[in-house]
């Protein structure tokens, strides 16, 4: 299946430094349609009917989120774009922001209208400070008069993976340590400064103008039963053509990894970054969709020369470093897993370690506060399922 461009339709086509090139590609037509022809409710209904789900990894229905925020009582409401792309192996949002900042801005303006917000934030990770064209794109949009009732500010992160988690991100905008909050309340009822807030990933928002212009039905025809539209993937690792690819949801992992990115002698693929599921080569035909594997679309490819235990150890080391430390299962659990895996890497695993890993993993998944700790054990569990002998061969014999 060839690439299908909805999110990336303007990338490489428009000049990201010149709004007129965007206007020539139907830029801000969706925004005008929304405010001139549709009520707020009709906008959220359209998004709901499209079946669009969040592209940041969790897959929450976007229209439902918007509708909850629209109905929520509040003198002030906020729209946040999550551009804190910190997941290991993800760079699609950077690619998008570098090439088409205007679609994102238009989408945020539509979101502001739909929920009744006057202010929006783009939370940009510190590592993307170099994307200063975004500031200029907002300025150009303002000058053209598209941001008269809704303004957008950029807030930069300061180096923290967990700030990509929506409630940690809001705490960071509020100037605090970026630690995940207890939920409920959820952001659409009480988010930024306790006000109704929607927070969407860059890629989720990029779909909005096309949905408003072409209608929910058009979008609804693309993809699978539970996964509508396309997904943008970031492919890296042992491939000849690393990069960003947009495919219809439901496409096979094989098409992405072997046909487009030209991987050879694949041993396994991790889909979803450091906490992503591990897919052994035998399962390379797995469809990419919310109902199977997806995450935020980070696809890291490992060839036959790679050592699974080493790979999982490094993923866990990363997660232990980035755990915010607020809840014990994640803070302590990631550390203990690192300690055990390090032993396996040295060939000094203990007989009982595998069982301990499994017990610890299920406790963390059940009791961690946010997605980081809940998903952290996934690579451990998957690798034990598909590559168990790699662990067993490293149990110390004496």
């Amino acid at each position: 299946m060839p690439q299908k461009l909805i999110v990336l339709r303007n990338c490489g086509v428009i000049n990201p430094k010149d709004i007129t090139t965007y206007l020539d590609r139907d830029g801000f037509k969706a925004f005008k349609k929304a405010i001139d022809e549709l009520t707020c409710e009709q906008v959220t209904e359209e998004i709901k009917a499209s079946g669009l789900r969040g592209r940041g990894g969790a897959g929450f229905p976007c229209g439902l989120k918007w509708d909850l925020a629209r109905k929520a009582q509040g003198d002030e409401k906020y729209v946040i774009c999550n551009a804190d792309e910190g997941e290991v192996g993800t760079f699609k949002d950077r690619y998008i922001l570098e090439r088409d900042p205007f679609t994102l801005i238009e989408a945020m303006a539509i979101a502001g209208y739909a929920i009744g917000a006057k202010k929006g934030y783009i939370y940009l990770r510190a590592e993307y400070h170099h994307l200063d064209l975004l500031t200029d794109a907002i300025k150009q949009t303002r000058e053209k008069g598209f941001l008269e009732h809704f303004d957008i500010n950029i807030r930069e992160g300061a180096g923290s993976y967990v700030c990509g988690e929506e409630t940690a991100l809001m705490d960071s905008i509020e100037g605090k340590r970026g630690e995940a909050r207890y939920k409920p309340p959820f952001p659409p009822s009480r988010g930024l400064w306790e006000k109704p807030t929607i927070i969407n990933n860059v890629e989720t928002l990029m779909n909005i103008p096309q949905i408003i212009l072409n209608g929910a039905h058009w979008f609804n025809q693309i993809g699978t039963d539970q996964s509508k539209g396309t997904k943008v993937f970031s492919v890296s690792g042992d491939v000849k053509k690393p990069g960003v690819y947009e495919l219809e949801l439901g496409s096979r992992l094989k098409e992405l990894v072997e046909d487009l990115a030209l991987a050879e002698k694949v041993k396994m693929v991790q889909v979803g970054g450091a906490t992503g599921k591990i897919i052994p080569y035998e399962m390379i035909d797995t469809p990419l969709a919310f109902e199977s594997i997806l995450g935020a679309g980070a696809v890291t490819v490992f060839d036959e020369t790679r050592d699974i235990v080493d790979v999982v150890y490094r993923s866990m080391e990363f997660l232990a470093e980035e755990s915010c430390g607020k809840c014990a299962p994640c803070r302590e659990g990631t550390e203990v897993i690192v300690e055990i895996l390090e032993r396996f890497c040295r060939g000094e695993g203990l007989e009982e370690d595998i069982e301990v890993l499994q017990r610890l993993a299920s406790a963390m998944m059940l009791s961690s506060l946010c997605g980081l700790g809940q998903a952290a054990p996934i690579p451990v569990i998957d690798s034990l399922q598909y590559f168990r002998s790699a662990y067993e061969n490293r149990i110390q014999k004496n």
Binding site: V88, T90, Y128, H130, A158, G175, S234, G237, T300, E322
Partner: protein
């Protein structure tokens, strides 16, 4: 809304950019002007990896050590930088020119291995490219 709190991270980022680190004096001053306890300020300052409570060099080198860069042998880049500037990760050169850190994914995985010097990204690195990049640093 606590305005002091909202300003805190912005002001810390500003101070970091201006002075290269957050000195005890600047933290104390911030605490006073925002009417926040000093401990709260350190709580935020030490949470984020791009904020530093110790003096850093004029050029902060951050080499990505996350998976995609690891697969593209970032270790050889780390070794090369170590040799070129004579310090290990976590250290600053005595002349204050360079600080050297290892960092997590910087979103340049399609062009791994990659590193940042201050806000600039350098990708598709090879050991051969390093000395020229470092020479251009002031």
């Amino acid at each position: 809304m606590n305005n002091g709190q909202e300003e805190l991270l912005l002001l810390l980022q500003k101070a970091q950019n201006e002075f290269g680190y957050l000195s005890e004096e600047s933290v104390a001053e911030l605490a006073k002007s925002l009417a926040l306890p000093i401990s709260d300020i350190y709580g935020v300052a030490t949470f984020y990896s791009f904020l530093s409570t110790k003096p850093l060099g004029r050029n902060v080198i951050r080499i990505c050590k996350s998976m995609p860069c690891y697969l593209k042998n970032c270790q050889i880049i780390i070794d090369t930088v170590e040799k070129e500037i004579g310090i290990k990760p976590g250290e600053t050169t005595p002349d204050g020119k360079f600080s050297f850190q290892l960092t997590n994914c910087i979103g340049a995985c399609d062009k791994a291995p990659a590193m940042m010097i201050n806000s600039d990204v350098y990708d598709d690195l090879t050991p051969g490219k390093i000395s020229e990049i470092l020479k251009a640093c002031k």
